[in-house]
């Protein structure tokens, strides 16, 4: 369900040395890309804790983008490989939990690839736009609406019982 009104929210975790710098370069080069992305700086893609990705989804991200140095280029030798290994399990888990594949993306973007930041962000925003909102906070609220219904019902019954009780008291 593509929705033209819908503006996807993408949270990005970029490593300091390559992808964050590439995003800086995109800026310096005045490249224009979709404003739907919020970049969080980490020192290395190896710092990307799968919890961060899942927390971002749970808090309303429609997509999560992880950016690290190309294989062999990690500033910390091998952090990007650790990220890659986790990513492959994470993508399976997200699929098993019903999060569409395109909502999670790992990209290797070197410090010189400002244009790749632009391309990847624009691409991802359009892909996620086509998927529509993930809106987990909204879904959670929908699921939990049943609890509110019960709560209100119990409250009504409780109030009713109290009133009946009070009425009885006044009668007698």
């Amino acid at each position: 369900m593509a929705n033209q009104e819908f503006e996807p929210r993408i949270v990005a975790f970029f490593c300091n040395w390559c992808t964050y710098t590439a995003a800086d370069l995109a800026g310096v080069s005045r490249m224009k890309y979709a404003s739907n992305i919020r970049i969080i700086r980490l020192m290395c893609s190896g710092r990307v804790d799968p919890q961060f990705v899942m927390d971002a989804f749970a808090r309303g991200a429609d997509g999560v983008l992880i950016g690290g140095c190309h294989p062999g280029d990690c500033h910390y030798i091998s952090g990007n490989y650790k990220c890659l290994r986790r990513y492959h399990m994470l993508e399976r888990m997200m699929a098993d939990l019903g999060v569409e594949k395109d909502r999670l993306r790992l990209e290797w973007i070197s410090a010189s690839e400002g244009d790749k930041v632009k391309r990847v962000v624009n691409e991802m925003v359009e892909q996620v736009r086509a998927l529509g909102p993930l809106d987990l906070p909204g879904r959670f609220a929908d699921w939990d609406a049943e609890m509110r219904e019960l709560d209100e019902k119990v409250q009504r019954e409780h109030d009713g019982a109290c009133e009946a009780h009070a009425a009885k008291e006044t009668q007698s």
Binding site: A58, M89, D96
Partner: protein, 335 residues
């Protein structure tokens, strides 16, 4: 009536193991019984919902509630107990984090009903009769069944919970310590999980057998392999949740030559147990190439069932997000 503190036990979506574990206090239960007044315990004493309703709000010192919340009835009962109790303890994995019942959060209610009432090999239900929440028979007599909720919830997702006693089931030792702390009024800060805040490996009898450089060329499943009865499971390539799971279980599974499956839940510093264990285990897969990594990881065929066996309710995503039926949809379905 005595002025001994009143205690209530209740079970929700659970297997009964937690009730058993209470009895596992053995003789100690008599000491407990001497000190407290058990006012509600459906499995053991005859007290009804109306009896609880009749109690003054807050009059029960502590309610120990086990089981996950799957039905409206369970939800209603725990709300009632909450109102009547000073303290509520989520007792066992199901109450703490959804437990085994929460694995149902991978499926819609409709899928579950269809499997249980139509597709199970032993089910004989030619008319495909499903349970109804309300049913009025030909005589005009109406009966109701509790509503089956959209998802399985942990206790704290329904009511305010003071403490959690983890485990599937919790050990008698932890229960005894918890009761003692409550009776002595030595209460830890609200929200505390009443088990050590260190991972299982801390006390694991196999701790010393783990090498410092474990890396995974493959993952083996316990039933496929002759497991070394002494050696760290992870060092054998068998997924063990120990590093991401609280200790306090007295290493019962490990002692029985089975890896930890994570029932004590994560430490206080972790928001999502499954996310953390994959972060740890996958980091050490012995490859730098996508296809090989995937191949190694394929040795873990069911990540959700493996890493969220006891905690899918507390997974940050709470379950399968695209299939759980929303209230509005289910209302439409009912029309």
């Amino acid at each position: 009536m005595t002025d001994k503190p009143k205690v209530a036990f209740y079970w929700c979506a659970s297997c009964g193991g937690c009730e058993e574990s209470t009895v596992d206090l053995a003789e100690a239960i008599l000491d407990v019984a001497k000190l407290v007044d058990i006012v509600f315990w459906p499995v053991a004493i005859d007290a009804k919902k109306k009896d609880v309703e009749a109690m003054a709000d807050g009059s029960i010192a502590v309610s120990l509630i086990n089981g996950a919340i799957r039905t409206s009835e369970q939800e209603e009962m725990v709300r009632l107990l909450r109102r009547k109790s000073g303290l509520v303890i989520a007792y066992g994995s199901c109450a703490q984090s959804g437990g085994i019942p929460a694995l149902a959060n991978q499926f819609t209610r409709e899928q579950i009903m269809r499997v249980v009432y139509e597709e199970c090999p032993t089910v004989d239900n030619p008319n495909k009769v499903h349970p109804q929440e309300t049913y009025v028979d030909t005589d005009g007599i109406g009966v109701t069944l509790p509503g089956f909720r959209n998802i399985v919830r942990s206790l704290d997702q329904v009511i305010d919970v003071d403490y959690a006693l983890p485990g599937c089931p919790p050990t008698p030792k932890l229960l005894a310590e918890a009761l003692q702390a409550i009776l002595e009024g030595k209460l830890p800060p609200k929200g505390t999980v009443l088990a050590p805040d260190v991972a299982q490996c801390d006390t694991c009898p196999r701790k010393d057998t783990k090498p410092q450089d474990v890396s995974y060329l493959e993952f083996k499943r316990p039933h496929w392999t002759d497991m070394d009865p002494e050696k760290c499971f992870l060092a054998q390539g068998i997924v063990c949740m120990g590093p991401a799971t609280r200790s306090g279980c007295e290493s019962q599974c490990i002692s029985g030559n089975m890896p930890c499956t994570g029932c004590f839940g994560p430490t206080s510093r972790v928001r999502d147990q499954g996310a953390k264990i994959i972060s740890s285990i996958c980091s050490s897969v012995a490859s730098e190439e996508s296809d090989q990594i995937k191949s190694v990881l394929s040795g873990i065929p069911d990540p959700i069932g493996t890493f969220y066996r006891y905690g899918l309710s507390k997974c940050l995503l709470r379950g399968r997000v695209d299939t759980a039926v929303t209230t509005s949809q289910s209302q439409e379905a009912r029309k």
